[in-house]
Structures are given as structure tokens and as C-alpha cells.
């Protein structure tokens, strides 16, 4: 026992070396079927963790305990081979391609399955290709890789993209569950994607059901890298590049702006702005001033993989640094990982996975408190700011140019001013890891125990100097500082039993697991009192009494307890059957609704293994069908409890006595629905796996039909209830269905080898029930109604501008927005009359166009198809990867053009005022909004499809015998985009109820980089 403890200590602290246990030395060479040496082949001594890898020429050396040792040779893409050592000391092994990779082991949650036994919709991500991506988060690197998984990335440093598996399901949160080495969590920019060994995506309800109540958005199962037996591998890799915006918006210069502004003023008879009437020579290109095209990107990784007979260790160190294409935003991650495993005695393994990382982010300002400037996005202010305003203007209070009423009317914040007077920094320290034990009690029966922790410590700070960077608005100095931590702990106990009797194979698994959350945070908000000359902003550094000080604290606790099990059965590898069940109890719900049961069953039929099946070209043909129920609960803890509202500040207090002394009151807070329950997805999946020509061509297709029931949404309550708030109610139902196709073609022999992988998918939904009394949910320029998909674009239909001839031909009583249109005014289709007594619009033109009454369903933001296409090839020492991603058949609302062209106090993209200026866009109404020319309409709806070269990488492996591998490469990300969309980025991610409306976020950026990786 002492020895074991000692060995564990050595294992953990010294990375135990394999030489200590070696006895007999053997060596050999591994080749492929073309007699080329195969590097990186894993050679493991069976029933041990001892082994090695072949070097660049396919050679290996290994020590074996005795002659009875069985060597297992395995390499992805080749069939595994087993060989008893016997008296041989030298081995020449030829590996046979196994293109179908049928023996591949897939992690399916709480255990593994052979890929050939899978009966649900489980996608295995090509981790090697994914590793070529320059994105810093796992989520972003999944983009375009998996049929059914859509990711919208952004160029904002350290901000992960928006990911949806099989489309929108829930209104609260559509992030899938991430399971990292068995720990249930979310993705985070803190995690280093270079640590990933494999990723599987559990897409359908039948396979995700093992994660029960947290699985309805799909599950991403990640296994991080482990140590390898044999010669230690030390890999050092580094990439550095520069990023820039892919496009800018073509706005007017001063002369063009003045022409339109003056024309609009003259036309309406109002006074011209002073600085457009007489141009002062100022012509600011704000985008040029703000966007920088040499933002640094840097990624450095060091990893060590080592191992011996009983121990394996993986260690990594990562630093990722990314600047934004605007000044300010920044991401800086330092991450480490240590994964170790130790075989104590035969059948008993213990190990740990641990990552500790710190991510620093600088972002855009978001200063709370009265008098602060709040969240003022630099990018949208940059685009809309007038060219007639200078960046710096000594005549202004703080020296920053800004609007002046009637002179240069702009409500924009000077974007350079925002960057210079505000700072925002966030720091997250993350600890994620587990300790585990795996014990084979009797043959086939394993007990697995794991205890894990997932902690985040954060410290956010925002501050700003006081002053003025906007027309008629002075802002105060201020500081917001928040700190907190969140700690989740997990315990898992699992029993797995495997048994084969003849052609019958069974596995049974039962698990008890529980999870506790404890989080707390504190925040202080101070406005006023800071002196801009004092170079540090600390809570204590005010030099005058602050205007406001708010200090608050919050704690969160939650518990989840689960029992779950899986049973699989297969007969002769022909008939496959899997059943999962999970029962989750969650403190989020009231006692009666706390527990939910999530079952699934699925079956598969391997036709190729039937005796009657005899098609030479088809090497694998499997039909799969599955049904499952999974849950979701994207809502805060304790939402079922009506809380008592009582506080000394902002509470329900009264003042008594003639001099008004405060007395603290208490009353029930916002009204709640005590009966909230799990949201449920019930889904049927039918799939087909097909491999042709010895697996060179593989095809996986799935179709699915799902019903989302009891979706949680907030609904307004009658005012007569006497409470504020909107209770969360399980009230919406939706159908969701779609299809997914993934295809791979590989040529892996000869000098020129290549692989083409492609995927395409489509997800649709339809709202089938909404809460009592509500028949539609509005969103920005969008609507969700029973019978149609969520968030359809909904605006008046723009039909160009009126000519004088058309005006003359109009019925004189015809009005738009209550007034008869004039030549040059916008023309909209008259669709409906007014509301009837039941509140429904009466159909048919009524000679009067109004914004509320004449909107129609004018666009579908759900893409017809989303796709990814990856081509990778090697020729001798060269390798190349070309990766495209795209979306087709989708309508998008160009919010930037809308914002720019529907008010006079921003710059424009359009050509206005036909009456006076010969343009093609509606006349500007300088006097107000009386004629509807400024309406949001189909004028701003564009084809939102795009095809984007996401990644291009060309590498060269330098043959150098001092190292096992040295590769250099150049890489480009987002090199070009083909799209008709005129906004900054067609790859925007809209909100749930307005998915087709560009929220004007941070656009994707182009990164050009070079790098190398070196393995010893």
C-alpha cells in the first residue's frame, strides 16, 4: 500500500517514467499497404497502458514484460492488429486500411460504444481538421463541421459564437450541453481547444436522453488528450497573424452628406444644418479612424504526452492573445492542463483531468448607474457618425467632436471618445477537473467513480472619465466593479456490465450522479466623484462625493440529482438495440414538479451483415431509428418561489414622521408561476449509414421529427393582479423537423492523398401553441405566430417611389400614414383594413396604408440549407486544407442600412430625394415622420445567404531527423465571402424572436497567419 501511495505521488508530481518498469526490449517498423513507413501508429501492450508510437519513419522501440505480451497496433484509418510477442524481438508490420473505421470507439456519455453499434444520430468530429482552425473557442471551431450544428461566429476577441444544434428549440438558451471528460458544463473561451482529443455530438433525442433534463439542445461530448505510452512526445506550436475587417460600409462623405441633408431640409422648408449649408472642409471617415487592420493574433501551445506501463500523462500550456479590429477589445488566455492516469493493479485505474485557465477580456464599455453612458457599441456609432463632425474638436468641452443641434445634428457618441474615456476589463479564472477511479470488479463488471469541480472566479471592472462625447449629453465619471465565484461540484458512481454469449452482446450501465452549484457575487456601482486627472480608478479613489453608490450582493444555489441507465443488445452485429433512461431531480422546480424522467429507445439494422446481402460495392449499410424524450429548463433558480421584496434602497419603504424617517416595508415581489415544469423535446430520428467502395465514400443521413412541448416563456398577466413581473409559464409548443447529410470521400494511398468532407442540413420549426389569449409574439420587424416558424420577417411591403404620374392617378383620398403621398415618397402595398371588433385585421386594401395595419410576412430567416465543405490533401511533404462554410436561402434584415437611412441625424448609404436630387430612394422627410418614408420595410430585406472561405491552410513538413515532426504553415481565415447582404457581416446571429434581424454585432474578421509545430 505504501508503495502504491508512493507511486501515485511519483505519478502526480514527477510524471513517472516508463523505464522503471521495463524488462524486454523489442523494436520494429510499421508500414502502410504501399510500404511507406507509418508515423504515429500506437502500439499498446494489451491489458496494460504501456505502449509507444512509431516515429516519422514508422520505427518503434518498446519494452515488454514477457513473451506472452500481446501487442495491439492501431492507427486511425487502419485496421487494428494484435500480435503475441513470443520470441521475436524485431517486427515488420503492414497495416491494412480500414477506411470505414468501423472499430472506432465513440464516447456516447457514461460509457463508449463501437461506432458500428451506434443507433442514434451521433456525429464524430474530425478533430484533426478542426485543429487547423484559428478560432479560439471550441464552439467556433465546430462551425461547418457537423451536419445539424450551426454556429455563427463573431470577430469580437474572446467571445464565442452562437451555437445551435438542430436549430432553435428554447427561448431561454440554445447552447448545447458540453460534457468534458464526463463533467457537464458549458463551453467557455477559457477552454483551450488544442487539448481536445475527440468530439462527438449527440444530436437526436434518443442518444442525448442519457443526459436527460439538460440534453434537449444537444450534447457535445469532449474527451481531452491523454498521455501515450512510449517515447515522450513534446510538441511546441506557435501561430501569429494579423486580423482586419472583411468589409466596411460605404457611407457618404461630407459633400454627399451635405447634398442630401440640404436637399431634405430645403424640400421640407426647414432650416439647413449650419455645417452642411457651408461646408467647413471637415470630412471624417469614421470607419477609417476607428478600424485597425493590423490587430495581432497569437497562439502558442506546448504539450507533453508521456507514459509508461502503468502511467500516462498529458500536460499542456497555452497562451492565446487576440486584439480586436477596433481599439479596446482584447482577449488573453493562459491555460494549463494536466491529465494523468495510473494503473494501480490490474483492473484498477485511477486518474485525473484538470485544467486551470485565466482569460482576460477587454470589451466595449457598459457602465451602469445613473449618469453613466451605458452600453454604447463603438461599431454602430462609427458607422452612423456624420462625416462633417471632426474626431477631435478643441472647441468642445472634452476635445472630442460631437453633434450640435441645428449645426451638425447627430445623436451618436464619438466612437474614438468612447474608446478613450472608457475601459472595460473582465477576468475569469476557471478550474475544471475531476478525479476518477475505474475498477473491474469481476470480468465485464466495472465500477467507475468520479468527483469533479467546475469553478469560475470573475472580476469585472468598467470605468469612465466624466465629460461629453455626445450632443447635449454630459456623462459623469464612474466605476463598476464586480467580483464573484461560481462552484459546481459533481459526484458520479457508475456500474457497467458487458457480456457476450455467442452472437448476443449485452451491456448494462447504471449511474447515480449529483451536482451542486454555489455561486456568489458582489457588485459596486459608483457614479460621479472621480477626477479624470487621477490615473487610477478604484472604489476608494474618488476625489469628490459620488453622486450615487450602489452596492449589491447575490447568491445562487442549486442541486441536481440523477439516476440513469443504459441497456444495449446486439445480435450478430446485425440487430442493434439501445435503451436509455434518466431520472433527474432539480431544485429549480417546486416539490411536485422536481423530478422528470427522460427515456429513449433506438434500434439499428446492419444490412451488410445479413447473409442475403451481397452488394460488393457497399461495405456498410445500416438503418437506424430512435425515439427519445429530453428536457430543458433554461431559467434561473428559484423562479417558482414568490420572493418577498424588502430592501433599504429601492425597496418598498415609506417615510414616517414630520421629518420623514425611513421605515422598511416588505411585500411579495414579482408574481410567479409556482407550477413551472420541465420543457420537453420528443423526437424521432431515422438515419442511414452507407459506406461504398471499401469505405472510401461514406454517407450519413438523418431525418428527424420533433415536438417541443411546455416551452417556458414569460407571459404578461392582467394588471388587476396587482403585481409586477411576467411569470414564466410552460405555454408554447413547437414542431421541429429537418434533415442532415454528411458525406466523406477519402483517398489515403499513394503520394497524393486527400479527403473531402461535406455536410448540409436544414431545420424548420412551426409554432403550434402560444400562451392563453396570445396569438402572436412580436420581435423586431418580426413575428411569431401559430402555424408559422418563429420570427418571420414582418414589415410593410416597399414598392419603390411614386412618380408624379402615379400620384396623379391615385384616388385623392388615398393616404400613407394619414397623409396623401407626394412624388418621391415611398410606395407601400395597401394590404389590410383596420382592426375589426375582435381585434383582427380585416383583409383587403382600404385606401389607407399604415405601419400597424399593412405589414405582411415578407421573409423567412430560416435558411433553406446550411453547409460546410472541407477539402484536405497531402502530397509528399505538403498539405493543404480548404474549408468553406455557408448558408443559402435565407432572408435577412439589414439593420445597418435601416438605421442609416431612416433618420437624418446619421450618415446614409442611399441616394435620396428624387424630387430634387434624382435619387432612387424615397424622399427624406426632414420635418418629421409623417409620410412613412422612414418606415422599416422590405426595402431593407436582403438575401442573407453567403458562402465563406472560412479557412485555408497550406503546410509543409520539413524532413529533419533530429525531431519527429516539424511542420510550417500559412493560414488564412475568412479570406473571402460571397454574399448579396450589404451589412457588415451576413453571419450575424439574431435573437430568438427576430432571427433574421441583424443586431449589428461584432463582424467576423480576416486573419492571415503563419505558424509552425514541432514535435520531439
Amino acid at each position: 500500500m505504501k508503495k502504491i501511495i508512493l507511486n501515485i505521488l511519483i505519478l502526480v508530481f514527477v510524471f513517472g517514467s516508463q523505464q522503471a518498469f521495463s524488462q524486454n526490449a523489442i523494436s520494429g517498423n510499421v508500414t502502410d499497404d504501399g510500404n511507406e513507413g507509418l508515423p504515429g501508429v500506437s502500439i499498446i501492450i494489451k491489458d496494460s497502458s504501456q505502449g509507444t508510437l512509431t516515429d516519422v519513419d514508422g520505427n518503434f522501440n518498446l519494452s515488454v514484460p514477457d513473451n506472452n505480451a500481446v501487442l495491439v497496433f492501431s492507427y486511425i484509418g487502419f485496421e487494428s492488429q494484435e500480435l503475441t510477442v513470443g520470441n521475436q524481438t524485431s517486427f515488420n508490420i503492414s497495416m491494412r486500411p480500414d477506411i470505414a473505421q468501423l472499430e472506432e470507439i465513440v464516447v456516447v456519455g457514461y460509457g463508449t460504444q463501437r461506432k458500428r453499434d451506434i443507433t442514434g444520430a451521433v456525429s464524430v468530429v474530425d478533430a484533426e481538421e478542426m485543429a487547423k482552425s484559428q478560432f479560439v473557442s471550441i464552439t467556433d471551431r465546430l462551425q461547418g463541421r457537423v451536419a445539424g450544428v450551426s454556429v455563427n461566429t463573431t470577430g469580437e476577441p474572446g467571445v464565442k459564437g452562437d451555437i445551435k444544434i438542430r436549430g432553435t428549440a428554447f427561448f431561454g438558451d440554445n447552447n448545447p450541453l458540453f460534457v468534458i471528460d464526463g463533467i457537464l458544463t458549458d463551453d467557455s473561451p477559457n477552454l483551450n481547444p488544442n487539448d481536445i482529443e475527440s468530439i462527438q455530438v449527440l444530436k437526436d433525442a434518443s442518444s442525448a436522453a442519457i443526459y436527460g433534463s439538460r440534453a434537449a439542445n444537444g450534447v457535445v461530448v469532449i474527451t481531452t488528450k491523454k498521455g501515450t505510452s512510449g517515447t515522450p512526445r513534446i510538441t511546441f506550436s506557435s501561430t501569429a497573424g494579423l486580423s482586419s475587417l472583411t468589409r466596411t460600409i460605404d457611407v457618404m462623405n461630407s459633400a454627399e452628406y451635405a447634398r442630401i441633408s440640404n436637399g431634405a431640409s430645403d424640400y421640407s422648408g426647414s432650416a439647413r444644418q449650419d455645417e452642411t449649408d457651408v461646408l467647413t472642409g471637415i470630412d471624417t471617415d469614421w470607419q477609417q479612424e476607428v478600424f485597425q487592420d493590423n490587430a495581432l493574433f497569437q497562439d502558442v501551445n506546448v504539450s507533453i504526452q508521456a507514459g509508461g506501463e502503468k502511467s500516462k500523462v498529458y500536460f499542456s500550456l497555452n497562451n492565446t492573445y487576440q486584439e480586436g479590429v477596433i481599439k479596446g477589445p482584447l482577449f488573453d488566455r493562459v491555460g494549463t492542463r494536466l491529465n494523468t492516469e495510473y494503473t494501480v493493479i490490474k483492473g484498477l485505474t485511477i486518474g485525473q483531468n484538470l485544467t486551470i485557465s485565466r482569460a482576460r477580456n477587454s470589451g466595449e464599455p457598459n457602465l451602469k448607474g445613473s449618469g453613466g453612458i451605458g452600453n454604447r457599441p463603438v461599431i454602430s456609432n462609427t458607422i452612423s457618425m456624420l462625416p462633417i463632425i471632426p474626431v477631435l474638436d478643441p472647441s468642445k468641452t472634452n476635445g472630442y467632436g460631437h453633434g450640435v443641434p441645428g449645426v451638425a445634428t447627430s445623436f451618436g457618441f464619438n466612437p474614438i471618445g468612447i474608446q478613450e474615456v472608457t475601459r472595460n476589463q473582465r477576468e475569469n479564472t476557471r478550474v475544471l477537473g475531476n478525479l476518477y477511479l475505474d475498477y473491474e470488479i469481476i470480468e465485464g463488471l466495472n465500477y467507475y467513480f468520479s468527483a469533479g469541480v467546475n469553478s469560475t472566479f470573475f472580476h469585472n471592472k468598467n470605468w469612465q472619465k466624466g465629460g461629453q462625447i455626445r450632443m447635449t449629453t454630459t456623462h459623469q465619471s464612474g466605476l463598476t466593479e464586480a467580483r464573484g465565484e461560481s462552484r459546481e461540484t459533481f459526484i458520479e458512481n457508475r456500474l457497467t456490465y458487458r457480456k457476450s454469449i455467442g452472437d448476443h452482446r449485452f451491456t448494462a450501465m447504471a449511474t447515480y450522479t449529483e451536482q451542486d452549484l454555489l455561486a456568489s457575487s458582489q457588485e459596486t456601482i459608483i457614479t460621479g466623484g472621480f477626477d479624470a486627472a487621477v490615473p487610477f480608478f478604484q472604489i476608494s479613489a474618488t476625489t469628490a462625493p459620488p453622486n450615487q453608490i450602489i452596492s449589491s450582493g447575490f447568491e445562487d444555489i442549486a442541486t441536481i440529482r440523477s439516476i440513469l441507465g443504459r441497456f444495449t443488445y446486439s445480435f450478430a452485429d446485425r440487430y442493434l438495440f439501445t435503451a436509455n433512461i434518466r431520472r433527474d431531480g432539480n431544485s429549480k422546480f417546486s416539490e411536485g414538479n422536481r423530478w422528470g424522467t427522460f427515456p429513449s429507445i433506438s434500434a439499428g439494422w446492419n444490412l451488410t451483415n445479413e447473409s442475403f446481402f451481397n452488394v460488393a460495392a457497399i461495405s456498410n449499410l445500416k438503418l437506424r431509428v430512435g425515439y427519445g424524450q429530453v428536457g430543458n429548463a433554461s431559467l434561473d433558480n428559484f423562479r417558482f418561489q414568490q420572493l418577498i421584496r424588502t430592501a433599504s434602497i429601492g425597496g418598498v419603504n415609506y417615510n414616517l414622521g414630520p421629518s420623514s424617517t425611513q421605515v422598511i416595508g416588505a411585500t411579495a415581489g414579482d408574481i410567479v408561476n409556482r407550477d413551472i415544469r420541465w420543457e420537453i423535446l420528443k423526437e424521432t430520428n431515422i438515419g442511414l449509414d452507407l459506406a461504398l467502395f471499401d469505405g472510401q465514400l461514406e454517407f450519413i443521413g438523418d431525418i428527424y421529427f420533433g415536438k417541443l412541448e411546455d416551452l417556458l416563456t414569460e407571459v404578461p398577466i392582467p394588471i388587476s393582479a396587482g403585481f409586477g413581473g411576467q411569470p414564466t409559464v410552460n405555454a408554447v409548443s413547437m414542431d421541429r423537423n429537418g434533415w442532415e447529410i454528411a458525406m466523406t470521400y477519402r483517398k489515403i494511398t499513394g503520394d497524393f492523398q486527400f479527403a473531402i468532407t461535406a455536410n448540409a442540413f436544414h431545420t424548420n420549426n412551426e409554432v403550434t401553441a402560444l400562451p392563453f389569449g396570445v396569438n402572436e409574439f412580436p420581435g423586431t420587424n418580426s413575428i411569431s405566430r401559430i402555424g408559422i416558424p418563429l420570427g418571420q420577417l414582418y414589415t410593410p411591403i416597399y414598392e419603390g417611389i411614386y412618380t408624379q404620374g402615379e400620384i396623379d392617378a391615385l384616388d385623392p383620398t388615398f393616404t400613407i400614414n394619414g397623409a396623401p403621398p407626394l412624388a418621391g415618397d415611398a410606395k407601400y402595398r395597401d394590404i389590410n383594413g383596420r382592426d375589426d371588433e375582435t381585434g383582427e385585421l380585416t383583409p383587403g386594401a382600404d385606401g389607407s396604408v399604415s405601419f400597424d395595419d399593412d405589414r405582411a410576412l415578407v421573409g423567412n430567416p430560416i435558411p433553406d440549407v446550411q453547409y460546410g465543405l472541407n477539402f484536405s490533401a497531402t502530397y509528399k511533404n505538403f498539405d493543404a486544407t480548404i474549408f468553406f462554410q455557408g448558408v443559402a436561402g435565407r432572408d435577412a434584415y439589414n439593420s445597418i442600412y435601416d438605421n442609416l437611412n431612416t433618420n437624418l441625424s446619421s450618415n446614409f448609404t442611399s441616394n435620396f430625394n428624387p424630387a430634387n436630387l434624382g435619387g432612387t430612394d424615397p424622399n427624406f422627410d426632414a420635418g418629421g415622420f409623417e409620410n412613412g418614408n422612414m418606415w422599416n420595410s422590405t426595402r431593407f430585406i436582403e438575401n442573407g445567404g453567403y458562402l465563406r472561405l472560412k479557412n485555408l491552410q497550406i503546410g509543409y513538413t520539413i524532413p529533419w531527423d533530429k525531431v519527429s515532426n516539424l511542420r510550417v504553415y500559412v493560414s488564412g481565415q475568412n479570406l473571402f465571402t460571397i454574399t448579396d447582404f450589404n451589412g457588415l457581416d451576413p453571419e450575424f446571429s439574431g435573437s430568438v424572436f427576430a432571427p433574421g434581424v441583424d443586431p449589428i454585432g461584432f463582424p467576423n474578421v480576416r486573419i492571415l497567419s503563419t505558424g509552425f509545430s514541432l514535435t520531439f
Partner: protein
């Protein structure tokens, strides 16, 4: 087999060692509705929360703003001459059927908070419980009194704590009036006299507050008989008296005001983030300058009514400059003369002529400072003793006892150096006495939001309000508020509709049991 047991046994130990996490967690941030209401102190805090609603502003409309601005604007004492959103409202044009949503919300919020006390008091014992429940019942009655006057009888019938999914039926005619009469009848015996409330509790409901409310509820239904004993009880209680100086009522004195029958405490410069201040003064200004909104101005009808009668010394009614801020005003408002306000208005608005001086905050805001915060600190007297005296006089008159009514009018007039009515107009008929009372109430209470209730209960809430108003004591007539009848522009009072507010459209959307008021 034995071997297996030996191996499994230690495993079962591991299972047992794990403490099973509890799913029944106690919220670490706040007490819950189920755990809170246990003691008399909890009920007291619940009552305080109901008082808190008196101060509410904006979308939670109460005496912090809406219950002062809207009744003024929609009666013949207030108008809006600036070309902004309240201009139409003062002329009975409502484009938005949610226009009165804030008042509606405020009423039901007050009622909702009060029912938490009433319903949760079951099973809680203590010496103060009866009083606390009585206070809560007063608030239910006050909330409904305001709602019924504004929205009519067909508002949702709510008589307990509401759940998230309740869609109450509209009350039947008189149903809620009857209910709140019962509530107040129950509450009055449990409430202390004003003198028993204690200085530190100044602001809490007294017996007189509840008696006055019940009397007002009867009067709003035209029931003078039932109102008389209640008003008599207040007048004869010896608990209240008129201040020597009328204008002291509208200042922050930090003194107990014996004229306050029911008032709302406000605090200037209180804790930031607390709703302990009023926005009233910011909305009541002659024009929109210096951060004031100029949303409510006084009508010419009020101005001209003041000019009809001089005081006992032959001077202008001393209440006039303390009530109105007008061309002839001798006082400054925020450091500016009336002419200063007009010239400072940009763009110059010739229609803006006079506003209410009552409850202005010049003493806090000072002259040079702009009104950047809605931080009014002057306590708002919802009902003053002068109001009660005049109501009592009116009630005696209507009940056929005109002679006995004179003394109470005189008391109010003499305080402000006006000759006693018994001297200037003795022996008025019942009808003329009522007409005189209407004038007296306007002179005493203009700008306090009382007029709207008065017009409604007198049946004067309609086009007739734009006609001439006869004053028996002077024998003169004053032209009424033209906003009530403006056929030229198509604006003005619509008979059959504007007697009642529109029930908010979003409420009708959410509760299909309700029906909109006529005309909307």
C-alpha cells in the same frame, strides 16, 4: 461468488458515504411568500409597503405624479397649452387606449399590496393586527375610490391576493362601492385618532382619514345622508384645525400639520434609488424651461374665478398668489418672475400664461439650479381639514340645513382674510348655497386634484363645464373651461365616452372577461 460480495461491499460503502444532495433549498437571497408572513412585524412591513405605493410615480402611477397630474389635467382646473402630448389629453383626445394605464396600474398595485396584509393576517395574533388590517382595508378602499371614479364600476372585481393565472370578472354596478363601504365601516373602529397616531408615526392613517374617505365614497355616489354623520364626526373630533397660514400647507415644514387629514410624506434629497420623492412640481410649471416639463397649467377659469372677489381689506384674495403663478403674481418661482418664465421659454410659446404655484419646490431647488431630478420633498395633502369643512357644509346644505352650513364655510374663508359668507351672502337658497360651495371649493382647493372628483359627483363633468359659472356671493359669472367643449377642432368632451377613462387595451387583451367602457 463470495469474492464478488467481498468486492461489491466496499463499493456500497462509497454510495452510503455520499451525502445525498438536498433538492429542497432555502433561497439565500430573500424570504419567500410562504415563509415570510408569520408575525405582527411582518404585517407591519406589509402595511408600510402599501404606504410606499402612495409615493409611486410614472408607470406605477400614484400620488408621486399621476394621481396629481391626471385629475388636474382632466378637470376644469388644469390644461396644457404647450404643443406636446398632454395638449390633446387636456382636450379629451386619446389616441392611445393605454393612456390611463398608469393610474389603473397604480390602483390595483395598491390594492394588491393591501390584500397581502388582509389575507395573510389570518392566524397572526398581536395587539396591532386589527389596526394593521384596518389600514390595509383603507388602502383597498382608497385604491377602488380612485379607480371607480376614473374607470367606472365595470373594473375587475378583485377581493383577495391574486394568482398568476387569474382573470377576474368585471364588477357589477355598485358591487365594489358596497364592498369598500363595508371595509371602511369595519376599519374605522380599529383606527386611532390622529392625536393617538403619534409624532413618529405621522403619515399613518387615522380614524379621521377613514371617516373622510368613507364620506367621500358616499358623496361620490350622491349619498349626502350617509356622509353627514361621518363628516360630523371628523369635524367634531377635535383632532383637526386649520393652519393660520393657508400657504403653510404647501411647504415642507417638518412639523405635524393639524390640517392634514390624509397626506403622503415625501422627502427631498432622500436616498438615491428610493421612490420617496414626488415629481409633481416638475410637471406643474408655466412652461418648459429649466428642466421643468410644464405639463399641467392652470385654466383661465381658475384665474378669473380668483379675480371675482377681494378680501376683507379690499386686496386680492391672499390665496391667489399662493395658488397660481400668473402675470400679476408678486412671487418668484425658481428665481424667475412670471415674465422671466415666458421670455425664457424656447421656442417662445405665447399660449403659456399661468401655472400652479402650489407645491412648487423653490425653497429646495433654489433659483439658479435647474430641475434635473424629479425630487420633490413637500408632503402632499390628499385631504385637508378645509376640504372636510367645505364638504360638511355642502352636506348640511344638501340635507336641508343650509343655515348650519354657513359657519364651516366662514371658517375656511376667514382663515384667508375673506369676509365671512354669512356677511357677504347670508340667506342663500339651497341651490345657490351649493353653487357658492362649488366656488369656495375651487378657491380653496384648486391645483390639488380635488376638482375632478367634485365635478364628477356634482354631474358637472361634461360640456356644461365650459359654460358660465355663476358665483352667488359676487353675483358675477366666470366662463368655464373651453376644453370641455371645442366643436371647432373636433376636440373636446364626448358625451357618453369621456365620463370614464378607457380601460387599458392591454388589460382587455389579457383578460377576455372584461369589457371596454362605452365609446372607446
Amino acid at each position: 461468488m463470495k469474492k464478488i460480495y467481498k468486492r461489491i461491499l466496499p463499493l456500497s460503502m462509497i454510495f452510503c458515504l455520499l451525502a445525498c444532495a438536498d433538492l429542497d433549498l432555502v433561497n439565500p437571497n430573500a424570504a419567500t411568500e410562504d415563509s415570510f408572513w408569520q408575525t405582527e412585524q411582518d404585517l407591519y412591513q406589509g402595511v408600510i409597503a402599501t404606504y410606499d405605493y402612495l409615493q409611486a410615480t410614472f408607470d406605477e402611477g400614484s400620488y408621486g405624479l399621476e394621481l396629481r397630474v391626471f385629475p388636474q389635467l382632466l378637470s376644469d382646473e388644469g390644461t396644457n397649452e404647450a404643443p406636446w402630448e398632454f395638449n390633446d389629453l387636456a382636450r379629451f383626445v386619446q389616441d392611445d387606449l393605454n393612456m390611463f394605464g398608469n393610474i389603473y396600474t397604480g390602483g390595483y398595485r395598491m390594492i394588491g399590496r393591501a390584500y397581502q396584509v388582509i389575507d395573510r393576517a389570518e392566524g397572526i395574533s398581536g395587539s396591532q393586527v386589527l389596526r394593521l388590517v384596518a389600514e390595509a382595508k383603507f388602502f383597498v378602499a382608497l385604491g377602488y375610490y380612485n379607480l371607480l371614479t376614473g374607470f367606472g364600476d365595470r373594473i375587475p372585481f378583485v377581493d383577495r391576493i391574486q394568482g398568476a393565472d387569474e382573470k377576474p370578472m368585471p364588477a357589477t354596478a355598485g358591487q365594489l362601492w358596497a364592498m369598500i363601504e363595508t371595509y371602511l365601516t369595519d376599519a374605522i373602529p380599529a383606527l386611532p385618532l390622529a392625536s393617538e397616531v403619534g409624532v413618529l408615526d405621522y403619515g399613518r392613517i387615522s380614524k379621521g382619514s377613514a371617516q373622510t374617505l368613507l364620506a367621500k365614497i358616499y358623496l361620490q355616489q350622491g349619498n349626502y345622508t350617509a356622509a353627514e354623520p361621518l363628516l360630523a364626526a371628523v369635524v367634531n373630533s377635535g383632532q383637526y384645525q386649520l393652519l393660520a397660514d393657508f400657504s403653510e400647507n404647501f411647504r415642507e415644514t417638518d412639523q405635524v400639520n393639524p390640517e392634514a387629514v390624509f397626506h403622503v410624506n415625501f422627502l427631498h434629497n432622500g436616498i438615491e434609488g428610493e421612490t420617496d420623492n414626488s415629481a409633481h412640481w416638475r410637471f406643474n410649471s408655466p412652461s418648459e424651461i429649466k428642466g421643468h416639463y410644464g405639463d399641467v397649467q392652470s385654466t383661465n377659469f381658475v384665474l378669473n374665478s380668483f379675480l371675482q372677489e377681494l378680501d376683507a381689506d379690499g386686496n386680492q384674495d391672499p390665496r391667489m398668489d399662493r395658488t397660481l403663478f400668473w402675470e400679476g403674481s408678486s412671487l418668484l418661482m425658481y428665481g424667475l418672475t412670471h415674465a422671466g418664465w415666458i421670455s425664457a421659454a424656447e421656442p417662445a410659446n405665447p399660449d403659456v400664461n399661468h401655472g400652479y404655484y402650489k407645491y412648487n419646490e423653490s425653497e429646495f431647488v433654489g433659483s439658479s439650479q435647474d430641475a434635473l431630478r424629479s425630487d420633490g420633498g413637500i408632503d402632499f395633502l390628499v385631504w385637508r381639514y378645509a376640504d372636510v369643512l367645505l364638504l360638511y357644509a355642502e352636506t348640511l346644505n344638501q340635507n336641508g340645513n343650509t343655515a348650519a352650513a354657513y359657519q364651516y364655510v366662514d371658517e375656511v374663508r376667514v382663515r384667508s382674510n375673506m369676509s365671512p359668507l354669512s356677511v357677504v351672502a347670508p340667506g342663500l337658497s339651497q341651490a345657490d348655497f351649493l353653487q357658492q360651495i362649488k366656488h369656495e371649493r375651487l378657491m380653496e382647493l384648486a391645483g390639488e386634484g380635488i376638482r375632478w372628483f367634485d365635478q364628477k359627483r356634482w354631474g358637472d363633468y361634461g360640456p356644461s363645464a365650459s359654460g358660465d359659472h355663476f358665483i352667488p356671493s359676487t353675483g358675477t359669472s366666470v366662463a368655464g373651461d373651453p376644453n370641455f367643449n371645442d366643436p371647432i377642432t373636433g376636440k373636446g368632451f364626448t358625451v357618453g365616452q369621456d365620463e370614464l377613462f378607457a380601460i387599458p387595451q392591454n388589460e382587455l387583451d389579457l383578460n377576455p372577461n372584461l369589457i371596454q367602457n362605452p365609446g372607446y
